[in-house]
């Protein structure tokens, strides 16, 4: 049976731990702390928590000013508001001056579900990856979330970490070793490499299991860090498997698929296939239904694997 856990709850609990260790950790939110789980930190350290109200642009500027004064600042909202709503502020106040601000956004992707298009961040990774100094991470489960948040706190500079609304399957155990920018090979295989991030890692593992029974050996890579990208692992996968599938809960353009393709095209061109949200908005519906409708499933990955192998 699959055990599920909440990535945003893992974030909230990790913030408390960090807050105890470091008095310079400050947390900001934009009236969503009950959902982003930053309220857990607020309860523990009320003097170091500031609710900026529905002022995302202002929140980013405040975060930058605090960081310029020596603070390590975590600022949270839903992924759609933490990217699209305040992009110029991210660019001018955090990215260009390289300030120590960690944007941890929940409710990423279409798994937000019933709230629909306005609340589904499907272009956030493209936007954040376009900002030169941002480290961009999409953890694969709640355990990896804790490690990613700790790593962000321990590393100077701007970070974007994207989390989910629903609970997601646990694929790691406590003690999981996480390094920023270093992908994790979850399964070895010679016929094709599936490079995935976030919720798609668990689905890639499922697909690989089914395909193994059909005699297709899949390498599964958890590419949790989109920027800086683990180019070495991508080049190795292209050289050794000669076919790559990229699976992500994001639009086709500017996300993990685009970024991996750029490396593959430059270093080791091989056939590629992509499992993503293509070039359109999603709908209201249950997260499982939306994933099914968009083909963001283990079956969708299996199909992509079979297509790409034929092109080898």
């Amino acid at each position: 049976m699959t055990v599920e856990a909440s990535t945003r709850e893992a974030y909230g609990r990790t913030l408390i731990e960090l807050g105890k260790q470091n008095k310079d950790i400050i947390v900001l939110d934009a009236d969503l702390s009950l959902s982003t789980m930053t309220y857990l930190f607020a309860q523990e350290f009320p003097e170091r928590f500031f609710d900026c109200g529905l002022e995302e642009q202002n929140m980013i500027g405040i975060a930058a000013g605090l960081a310029a004064s020596g603070k390590t600042v975590f600022a949270s909202s839903f992924a759609v508001f933490a990217s699209c709503r305040c992009f110029d502020q991210l660019r001018m106040c955090i990215s260009q001056p390289k300030l120590n601000v960690k944007i941890v956004a929940t409710h990423g992707g279409i798994t937000v579900g019933e709230d629909g298009t306005s609340h589904q961040a499907i272009e956030d990774l493209s936007l954040y990856c376009s900002l030169p100094s941002f480290t961009v991470i999409v953890p694969a489960d709640a355990i990896e979330t804790t490690e990613a948040v700790k790593a962000a706190a321990a590393t100077y500079g701007p970070f974007y970490i994207r989390l989910s609304r629903p609970k997601t399957p646990l694929i790691y155990r406590k003690g999981h070793h996480f390094t920023v920018g270093k992908s994790i090979t979850m399964k070895h295989g010679k016929d094709v490499a599936i490079i995935a991030m976030g919720i798609m890692v668990a689905k890639a593992l499922q697909a690989a299991k089914v395909l193994a029974n059909q005699g297709i050996g899949c390498r599964v890579i958890n590419m949790h860090t989109l920027n800086p990208l683990d180019e070495e692992a991508i080049i190795k996968a292209a050289s050794e498997t000669k076919a790559i599938v990229v699976a992500e809960e994001h639009l086709a353009h500017g996300g993990l698929g685009s970024r991996v393709a750029q490396i593959v095209a430059r270093e080791k061109p091989v056939p590629m296939s992509f499992v993503n949200l293509k070039d359109r908005y999603s709908l209201s519906g249950k997260s499982g239904e939306l994933l099914q409708r968009s083909g963001l499933t283990a079956e969708g990955i299996e199909e992509a694997v079979k297509q790409v192998i034929q092109k080898k």
Binding site: R48, N58, I62, G65, L66, A68, K71
Partner: protein
């Protein structure tokens, strides 16, 4: 560097290291206006109008009001100055150079390739610059972050933010106005360089922001209105801001765009256009 820190740590009296008199401030401002004209004319581009309207306010801060150490730009107890209207960078650069943050000769490098003096301010390149600005409406938020940090750390430094009047059209300015009052930031003082002109014309025609004073009062700020070219009034306003408790202060400084150069005054053409070398010569003759 250790020597600089020593100087700064000795300087705990709360007074400005220059402590100029009003006649000296006027003399300094005249010199800075000459730098601004020369810099922008040499660069061949830039924003003279808003630099000339703002320069008296910035001069008062660096040469009389603020507690700062040019030899130790990131001294932690310094008062902070945030130039939100980043296009007035030449005015800030001139002040920083004359107060010793970098050599005055460097001013001629404005906007040149590989210069530390970018067209709009860059916090990581120029000693003394607190914020990378240029996209309007963001400085007050940045100042709030700094003022909050001061409260958290029980530091008594002041944070000053200079806004343009055009910036009061940006929604973020009003987000920041709400939150600075909400957080009761009495260690934060904003100044509006109310020169009434923006890039394409009079603010009242482009997007009317009046009544300015009542708006800021309604947002919970203590407001002061002054002539932004009168040093007595500027200094008194900053003193009043410092002693106002429980709320942030905004100084609405009525200024003249292009102040000091007859053919630039109230002339919107010189919002973002460099004077020709001939015009610069005339401007310098007028100033001297």
């Amino acid at each position: 560097m250790s020597n600089h820190i020593k100087v700064a740590s000795q300087d705990t009296t709360g007074t400005n290291v220059f402590d100029l008199t009003v006649p000296e401030l006027m003399e300094m401002a005249k010199k800075l206006r000459c730098h601004i004209i020369t810099m922008i004319a040499t660069a061949g581009s830039g924003h003279p109008g808003g630099s000339l309207s703002a320069v008296d306010i910035i001069t008062a801060l660096y040469f009389k009001i603020m507690h700062h150490d040019p030899h130790n730009p990131r001294w932690k107890d310094r008062d902070r100055f945030i130039l939100s209207k980043g296009h007035a960078a030449p005015a800030l650069y001139a002040v920083l150079a004359e107060s010793g943050y970098f050599p005055v000769e460097e001013l001629t490098k404005l906007r040149k390739l590989d210069s530390r003096l970018q067209g709009h301010t860059d916090r990581n390149l120029t000693p003394g610059v607190e914020m990378s600005a240029g996209s309007l409406g963001q400085g007050l938020s940045f100042g709030i972050g700094i003022a909050l940090a001061a409260k958290l750390d029980h530091h008594d430094y002041q944070t000053y933010v200079l806004l343009s009047d055009g910036e009061c059209e940006e929604g973020q300015t009003w987000e920041a106005a709400l939150s600075a009052a909400h957080f009761k930031l009495d260690n934060l003082t904003a100044v509006i360089d109310r020169n009434q002109l923006q890039l394409s014309g009079w603010t009242r025609n482009i997007m009317n922001i009046e009544p300015v004073n009542e708006k800021w009062q309604a947002f919970g700020w203590h407001t002061i209105e002054i002539d932004g070219h009168n040093f007595d009034q500027i200094l008194t306003a900053f003193e009043e801001a410092k002693t106002t408790k429980g709320k942030p202060t905004i100084i609405i400084a009525h200024t003249i765009k292009g102040k000091g150069v007859s053919f630039m005054e109230n002339n919107v053409e010189f919002h973002g256009k460099a004077p020709t070398l001939e015009e610069a010569k005339r401007a310098l003759q007028e100033l001297e």
